[in-house]
Symmetry: C2
Subunit: 230 residues, 2 copies
């Protein structure tokens, strides 16, 4: 069975072999991503200018923990150890966050918006390559819980009040994308099974290029929505 | 109508006048307490020795946000502004947390355990003085979501592995209680309506002394449970 056939099968558990490792990798990277998203949002909440804003960001952080638990439970169902599944991705996320620590409330919001948007697009594409129960879980976890609306409202208001903010935040968003890409390449180089799932699942390298193009276009559209330049 | 009669009435909304202010104060102090508990747990989660421990503390933090939302919604129902209701209590909590910043994972757990325990006992007593819907909300929010069990398990294991840990953590717990009392006195001095609700509701100063004695005894029992000396 090829990776693609395995992915399209309707079995409740992924096929054995490299395929299962790829699924465990994917759930592991998602789970640790949620844990660090919690951390990041909880920390950035302290930059909020009002208690209402602080509670809003804390609420987003809390939602990530709900997602984390579902991913961890799925790993356990698959017979994998959640801690072991996440461990390979700790350095990648920690490096990314250490290099992109927001200095202001608006930088924090842009990071949440840009980061969650790209991550969600990417995982949504990859989810199509998974067994149906895991796919449905991933899609469900990625459904936006209103984070984007809140960030868009706050950032657009700040840009309207001071147009100079737009240039600074656009630059910040480009830096975030650059760092994210460099960490994603590191994951692809280190996690063979996961890289194979994606390349194998999409079909070939040109299909992979098309996927990256879709993600880039969606990012550009999001930047326009929030009032920044891509 | 006395404060006590107002508190015992079955009306869905608290009586007007000082009583309403006391209820808004109480919900405000609880709500801001939940927001800072979120912050504290989220920050202490980073001290966890394992990803599982980190996720456990992050999960407790997430639960506090659920509580916060319910208290905020009740304030809104009562026609109060949540942000304004919380504002008077910001310095008290922030001072408390700044003076009791855990340096280790175990200190963080003891703080969560001791602080949540005393706060819950206190609010549970005061809840009896409130109108039924607010009382039920407060009691529901205070129901322990397994935080205590987790802290007890971890701290007892650490004490068993190294008995010297017990003395250090007992001292830490005493410092926490001392700081909490000093901040509570500050609130009582600054918030007349709230102080009146408690003194008026309990009946007189000797009843208030009895309430404090019950809270102290419960704290001592909790310390024994976790393997520390009170």
């Amino acid at each position: 069975m090829t990776l693609q056939e395995a992915a399209l099968s309707t079995a409740d558990t992924p096929a054995p072999g490299t395929d299962r490792q790829a699924v465990v990798d994917l759930l592991g990277v998602l789970a640790y991503g949620e844990l660090t998203a919690f951390d990041r949002l909880a920390e950035d909440a302290r930059l909020a200018p009002t208690l209402t804003g602080r509670a809003a960001l804390a609420g987003m952080a809390a939602a990530e923990i709900g997602h984390y638990r579902r991913l961890r439970d799925r790993l356990t169902e698959l017979g994998a150890d959640a801690e072991a599944a996440m461990a390979p991705f700790v350095p990648v996320f920690d490096t990314f966050h250490a290099r992109t620590k927001p200095q202001t409330w608006l930088e924090g919001l842009v990071k949440a918006y840009v980061g969650d948007g790209i991550a969600a697009d990417f995982y949504r594409e990859v989810a199509q390559l998974l067994d149906p129960p895991t796919r449905d879980l991933v899609l469900d976890v990625l459904a936006d819980g209103g984070h984007a609306d809140f960030a868009v409202r706050e950032v657009r208001a700040a840009v309207a009040a001071d147009p100079a903010v737009s240039g600074r935040l656009s630059l910040w968003a480009r830096r975030l994308v650059g760092e994210a890409l460099s960490q994603a390449q590191r994951v692809a180089a280190e996690r063979d099974a996961l890289a194979m799932l994606i390349v194998g699942g999409t079909g070939d390298l040109s299909a992979l290029a098309a996927l990256l193009k879709r993600i880039t276009s969606a990012h550009t559209a999001r930047m326009q929505t929030i009032g920044l330049s891509g």
